[in-house]
């Protein structure tokens, strides 16, 4: 198939072969509006030619900022058709981060969703020398903005239609010029250290991931997917742009971020991709509803839930399920499981994927047990979002699955996972050196993750390779591995473990305001704020118990001995985490140096100075005295 070499050609093929099939939907004014592939093509063409009329050249970069909207996806595809490069950015980034990305990528066009996003661009206008055109989707509030470089989406499309009348063959000609090795998108990695890096993914990568995924998983042209994850995340690009264009399935944009849950239910997508946080929220939602239900309903729910989980554990261990349990599950399917799946919008889902971070085994098991085919997927931005995937029959909460067909995986020294195949990115934008550091001469990409292959042939990821260290006595120490054990507790939102070159492991813990707040309310413990709640002795005891539970699953030498409850959650705005919520370990260690000192000097109190960055960039300092706690009473004596 010579045709299947660029995304632009895929669009042209879809417009021909799938002309009247739905390509993308958006819920607008409470109603799902559908565009077919034929209409998708026309929308992209009109916008692309409008850009040409306004002087857009091959190789120029176009950024999009906003929620998932068809027009923002079309703008990206339009750039691809013209040999330009889309650069999606996170809409919740602070101004400094946006300015860095737009300048680094030299974006000449920015397509913004609405006034809120246009205002961000306006505020940075002076710092963006390359910028010459800003296009907005939703005109509300923008009627009085008069700038010659600011245009509405319709305006650009009208220019495009006028241009097409004069140059009817230009669009096709531009598509023909595209090559597989052309960069198809630049996704900025959040980077746990330093500035974000622009990951250049080519058309060949896009086709590569779609092929690998199709060979590993059942995905069809009549599938429905929900497009609700940040567009700047490589996962969304891979799913909503690459896979959708190659396979031809329909992407559905929710009405607003607040309505995702309801839209999910209305739509009932046939395939679902969600990070662990979403699965955890769904489970919490179910548990809260169950707790509020009348006693009889609650009893039925709990009994059948327990039965399903027993069956699921036996199934995953490969043991036979006794007849009684099997009958109970059949009845449960009618009474409990199917209605819950329906409520969650998962009734039609043939498979559901979780990735990006580990998902707690209890949450994982719950969804499997009620009949959701939940599986883990592993990948990174540099691998176009895909390396390995669990086959449906081998789903389990601990592995990252089997490497997808066509993708090679090898374990190097120190356990680092290396990947090779068509999904490996072309390089970091304007950073040859960093590219050479991660891709060797044979094409192996260093993921930076430490892991191993289990006897079944599944990849298991333990931690970031550079974070794996050793305690003072030489015991290997993988902080993320320990943190994940803690984060499986519903009460713990974030945890940071220390221990490299120290005698024992300690952890800073950020409580989950919702669940702990709920827990406190049910016990009649009054609190005013996150700070106040986090320092309640009862909450401290609760977390201590959770840490003990986590400790039981750890080898004795790497158990957590001391901990501290943070007075605020770790935030990307404070540079403590990346936008995809990965802890920036080095930065946190410096910022909380006084805490680490207290951990290992045996102190019982520390003054915590937390700086908070608001969304508009202002900062505030919050000072408080915080207790350092021991997990087991006698440990301090030994320090």
């Amino acid at each position: 198939m010579s045709e299947a070499t660029t995304l632009a050609r895929m669009l042209r093929r879809n417009a021909r072969d799938l002309r009247d099939r739905p390509a993308i939907r958006e819920k607008d004014r409470g109603i799902w509006q559908t565009w077919t592939w034929g209409q998708y093509y026309e929308q992209v063409r009109d916008f692309a030619l409008g850009l040409v009329a306004l002087g857009f050249k091959r190789g120029e970069r176009l950024s999009v900022i906003g929620d998932n909207r068809p027009r923002l996806y079309w703008a990206q595809v339009a750039a691809q058709c013209l040999g330009g490069v889309p650069v999606p950015v996170y809409q919740d980034s602070i101004a400094k981060e946006l300015a860095f990305v737009w300048n680094h990528a030299e974006c000449s066009v920015i397509v913004a969703e609405d006034q809120e996003q246009v205002d961000k661009v306006l505020g940075l206008r002076d710092q963006l020398p390359a910028l010459r055109l800003v296009v907005y989707d939703d005109p509300r509030g923008l009627v009085h903005y008069k700038h010659e470089w600011l245009r509405s989406y319709q305006e650009v499309q009208e220019l495009g239609r006028a241009f097409a009348a004069r140059h009817p063959h230009d669009f096709e000609a531009e598509i023909e010029k595209g090559k597989p090795e052309d960069v198809a998108i630049i996704c900025y990695t959040s980077g746990t250290t330093g500035n974000p890096k622009g990951v250049m993914l080519t058309n060949a990568n896009a086709i590569g991931i779609a092929d690998a995924f199709r060979r590993a998983e059942d995905v069809r042209a009549d599938d429905d997917a929900l497009a609700y994850l940040p567009m700047a995340w490589a996962g969304d690009a891979a799913y909503t742009l690459f896979l959708s264009l190659v396979v031809g399935f329909c992407s559905n944009c929710p009405e607003s971020p607040e309505t995702v849950q309801r839209d999910l239910r209305e739509l009932g997508p046939t395939t679902v991709l969600a990070p662990p946080r979403i699965w955890e929220n769904m489970l919490t939602g179910v548990q809260v509803k169950a707790a509020d239900a009348p006693a009889l309903k609650r009893w039925v729910f709990e009994r059948f839930r327990a039965a399903a989980e027993r069956a699921e554990i036996r199934r995953s261990d490969g043991k036979p399920i006794p007849l009684g349990l099997r009958l109970a599950c059949m009845l449960g399917n009618v009474l409990v499981y199917t209605p819950i799946r329906d409520q969650l919008g998962l009734r039609r889902a043939r498979w559901a994927l979780t990735g990006g971070a580990p998902l707690g085994p209890d949450t994982f098991r719950f969804f499997r047990s009620i009949g959701v085919n939940l599986k883990q997927v592993y990948g990174s931005t540099e691998t176009t979002g895909l390396v390995s995937l669990q086959p449906s029959a081998e789903a389990n909460p601990t592995t990252a699955g089997r490497p997808c067909p066509g993708i090679e995986v090898k374990i190097a020294d120190r356990g680092e996972v290396l990947v090779r195949g068509p999904v490996i990115f072309k390089g970091y934008l304007k950073n040859e050196e960093a590219t050479r550091e991660v891709i060797d001469s044979e094409g192996w990409f260093r993921t930076g993750d430490a892991g191993f292959m289990d006897p079944r042939g599944h990849l298991v990821i333990i931690d970031r390779a550079k974070d794996v260290g050793a305690l003072r006595d030489g015991t290997p120490f993988a902080p993320q591995f320990i943190e994940n054990k803690l984060k499986f507790s519903p009460f713990i939102r974030e945890a940071v473990a220390f221990g490299n070159e120290y005698p024992f492991v300690s952890a800073m813990v950020a409580i989950d305001l919702n669940t702990v707040g709920n827990w406190a309310e049910r016990r009649g413990i009054p609190y005013t704020s996150y700070l106040d709640l986090s320092q309640k002795p009862e909450v401290c005891d609760l977390i201590r118990e959770e840490i003990r539970k986590g400790n039981e699953t750890l080898p004795a030498s790497t158990r957590i001995r001391r901990f501290l409850l943070l007075t605020k959650d770790l935030e990307a705005d404070d540079a403590e985490m990346t936008r995809t919520r990965k802890v920036r370990r080095k930065f946190v260690a410096e910022k909380y140096a006084s805490v680490i000192d207290a951990f290992y000097a045996g102190g019982h109190a520390v003054e915590l100075e937390a700086s908070i960055t608001y969304e508009d960039g202002r900062t505030a300092i919050m000072k408080s005295h915080v207790r350092v706690e021991d997990v087991e009473a006698e440990t301090t004596a030994r320090v």
């Binding site: 607008d28 004014r29 409470g30 109603i31 509300r140 509030g141 009627v143 009085h144 009405e255 607003s256 607040e258 309505t259 309801r262």
Partner: protein, 268 residues
């Protein structure tokens, strides 16, 4: 400035309740497309003026006209039909009804179907419902409350109820929108949102707004003109800057010569 007859004119209106003279010979004029704020200390008669415009009260003397037409003695329902919508200081929504139903009710003055045909929900009645629902959906989109359509209004936080009430008033497609303390009891973020909505309604839909508000920062920011009432009388009128510098206003507010704060959300 040339004398242009305003969209809404109040001439020498007075109103007393028993022995209390609430409003004395107040004249106000709202020009088409402007945001006119009415400010004043508690009990100055601001809400009474709004109530006279919307037909809740009829003035004891004086005259109120809308687009040159005398509406002084008209019933509230008639005035609403003529294009005057309002919100209330203490939210007046149907708490048990959903947001959507409250907004649909705001369309009531535009609905022509009778009870019988509405019950049958067929033909014209159905068509009419679709037209009105579309308009309501525009407002839902405008106010960004898509996630609240099916929520009973009574279960919403205060700031959102205020927003829904604005939506209910907008559903009338008003020429004049009377807002009685739309930001009262709202937090800083809710106030900013509300100010944004008021400006957008005014700029994009060309709706004339008469606003009563205590938050001086907001009033001075968004108003084209400000009228000041004290003890039932109008003591000043003009642009925000003129009013801010007016010694009578400063005296009414502070009882001494000290400038009215020009920014910030301080309640005066």
């Amino acid at each position: 400035m040339a004398v242009v007859s305003g969209l809404l004119e109040i001439r020498d209106a007075s109103k007393s309740f028993g022995g209390v003279q609430a409003v004395t010979r107040v004249s106000l004029e709202a020009q088409k497309g402007e945001i006119l704020s009415v400010i004043g200390p508690n009990g100055a008669g601001k809400t009474t003026v709004l109530n006279m415009i919307s037909g809740f009260y009829h003035p004891d003397s004086g005259r109120i006209s809308l687009e040159g037409r005398d509406v002084t003695e008209l019933a509230p329902s008639r005035i609403a039909e003529l294009g005057v919508a309002r919100t209330f200081q203490n939210i007046a929504l149907f708490r048990g009804m959903t947001v959507l139903d409250n907004l649909m009710l705001g369309r009531h003055v535009h609905m022509k179907t009778g009870v019988l045909s509405a019950c049958a929900y067929w033909g014209l009645a159905q068509k009419e419902e679709v037209v009105h629902r579309r308009r309501v959906e525009d407002i839902i989109d405008f106010l960004r409350i898509q996630d609240l359509r099916r929520r009973p209004t009574g279960s919403l936080p205060y700031g959102l109820q205020k927003r829904v009430e604005l939506g209910r008033a907008l559903a009338l497609d008003p020429k004049v929108l009377l807002l009685d303390e739309p930001m009262g009891g709202c937090n800083h973020e809710e106030k900013e949102d509300m100010a944004r909505f008021i400006l957008d309604v005014n700029e994009e839909w060309g709706v004339t707004v008469i606003l009563i508000e205590h938050d001086m920062g907001v009033v001075m920011d968004i108003s084209d003109r400000v009228a000041v009432l004290d003890m039932g009388q109008k003591i000043a009128e003009g642009t925000p800057d003129e009013v801010r510098a007016n010694p009578r206003v400063i005296k009414a507010y502070l009882g001494e010569t000290k400038a009215v704060p020009s920014t910030g959300g301080s309640r005066v």
